[in-house]
Symmetry: C2
Subunit: 320 residues, 2 copies
């Protein structure tokens, strides 16, 4: 029975990772940790689930829990992953990305634990890219454009260093934009769905939607495909290697609005609100997932329209 | 009268920077800060010197001091700058490089202070380099090979970001190896001089000297040339730009031993002690200083033999 530690248990991705283990009848001993008390987690049929409340900035707490549990795998999801937040609070963003990661890998190193860590990075690390480099391979240059992106590059450099110099078993991702049911409306697609659905439910036929820059192009991957990639990378990823976790498909934010508008049969008229436009944002981010596919036999299963339809269903339940 | 804040006051470089101001009759109001109580600093003729004991990890303390003093220039020297230390204490090294820098730039941003910061980086950022790239220009790729080097790259990425996105006035260096009188014998050249001098003073004609890898090639710059570069960069460096601070000359560590041996007239037989060999060390680091020379009219004044001779004099006094 494999032993998996998941940090950032209360987050969007962790919940789907647990669902993935259950749906695939994976018998695992799972310890979920989070700085907040656990959300409701019970009724598991296949996994043996435990929970602990831990502040990853406190190294002593991590030491205790890792030493007791001795995980084979750590899925390190804990992160302040909002770019917008990082512009307002660069210090907190940095601490809750880089410093917590460093605390974690240091404990694994000090106790010589036989633990593989999946270090989650971000497509934001690429920064402003040349169109000629699209779709982005893992070999493309990094030019981070936000405090969050800098923190992710720092974490990745530390990961590479620990893998090379201390021979620590770390696999890295650069994960592109996630979408899926359950995501907070701090994130753009979930926010669009919620706001358009609320308009629809209130009987409106047309909505003026304040937006940021909706000409930007992104690579959205359904969270359920993200977690299957993470499970496969924990088991089949190559030590010290970096993997894009992405769909490989380019989608403009305005198209997403159009899909939602069609699915809900409501006219949406986007209007740009300067306060929602981020400084220095990337125009174009699309990844190449061939390394991930080749090394782990992973393939995505959700197309964008399926995802949006599931996100609409999620918000319908949530708003009722 | 210009106002200069110096962090890391008790360090090797700060002391020489104060000497530079005095030697050049620069009338400046200087506030030196350090986490330790101040070493003896008095008898200044040209500068109006003040001191405060500050922990840069405590943002409130930095806020207070910056807001009160309102410096035009910040020379940010505070750092845990030993690569060897960073291998043993990656977390402390990271905190006392990146986090303290971030605290500093955040205060300047929040209070919209009209302050230029000189962010000190390191040649270690380049990492393992191709011989074809020697001498290294600032455009060369970065491939950091130690926790210290990763911390310096992170600091530099944050500096670039703050300069570009927040329009903050930051100039960056990649400073190569320093040598000079007063440097701690934690650092290689000072350590060689001290040990060889001690052998000479005890009457030995020949010394078996335990060493690490002395085939590595470095670019050593006298600290007195370093501080003149820093002063010029504070005044003439271009905002958001990175400058190599280096001599441009390639010197093998074994040659340094030979110079010292000749100057002291004692035979030195180096013997490699594996415990002194660093994991993953760079073989070859030599920089190109033309950008610094062109933009600031800086030129180095100390040749290697002068520096070594002055370091020997320093240790003679210190050991007596």
């Amino acid at each position: 029975m494999e032993k998996i530690l998941i940090t950032g248990l209360n987050g969007f991705v962790a919940k789907h990772f647990l669902d993935y283990l259950e749906d695939n009848h994976i018998r695992a001993q799972v310890l979920g940790i989070d700085i907040q008390p656990a959300c409701m987690y019970n009724g598991f049929k296949y996994i043996d689930f435990h929970y602990a409340c831990i502040d990853l900035l406190q190294q002593k707490e991590i030491e205790k829990i890792l030493f007791q549990f001795q995980p084979e795998y750590v899925l390190h999801l804990a992160s302040y992953s909002s770019v917008a937040f990082s512009w307002k609070n660069p210090i907190l963003s940095f601490q809750n990305n880089v410093n917590i990661f460093l605390n974690l890998v240091e404990v694994v190193r000090e106790y010589s634990l036989k633990t593989r860590i999946l270090s989650i990075g971000s497509s934001e690390e690429y920064g402003n890219v040349n169109e000629a480099d699209i779709p982005l391979k893992e070999t493309a240059g990094l030019n981070p454009l936000s405090p969050y992106a800098v923190a992710r590059v720092s974490q990745e450099m530390l990961s590479s260093l620990y893998a090379k110099s201390y021979n620590q078993d770390i696999v890295m991702t650069r994960s592109f934009n996630h979408i899926g049911p359950g995501q907070s409306d701090v994130f753009v697609v979930s926010s669009f769905v919620r706001r358009i659905l609320e308009a629809k439910m209130s009987g409106m036929k047309e909505l003026q939607l304040p937006v940021g820059n909706i000409d930007i192009i992104r690579d959205f991957l359904d969270v359920r495909d993200v977690v299957s990639a993470y499970y496969k990378l924990l088991h089949k990823g190559k030590k010290g290697e970096i993997y894009n976790v992405c769909s490989g498909c380019a989608v403009r934010l305005s198209e997403i609005i159009m899909f939602i508008s069609e699915a809900l049969d409501i006219r949406v008229i986007p209007s740009v609100d300067d306060a929602l436009v981020r400084p220095n944002d990337n125009m174009l981010i699309v990844g190449d997932n061939s390394k991930l596919c080749n090394d782990t036999d992973w393939h995505p299963h959700y197309c964008l329209k399926n995802s949006i339809s599931d996100i609409i269903e999620y918000w319908k339940i949530k708003l009722n």
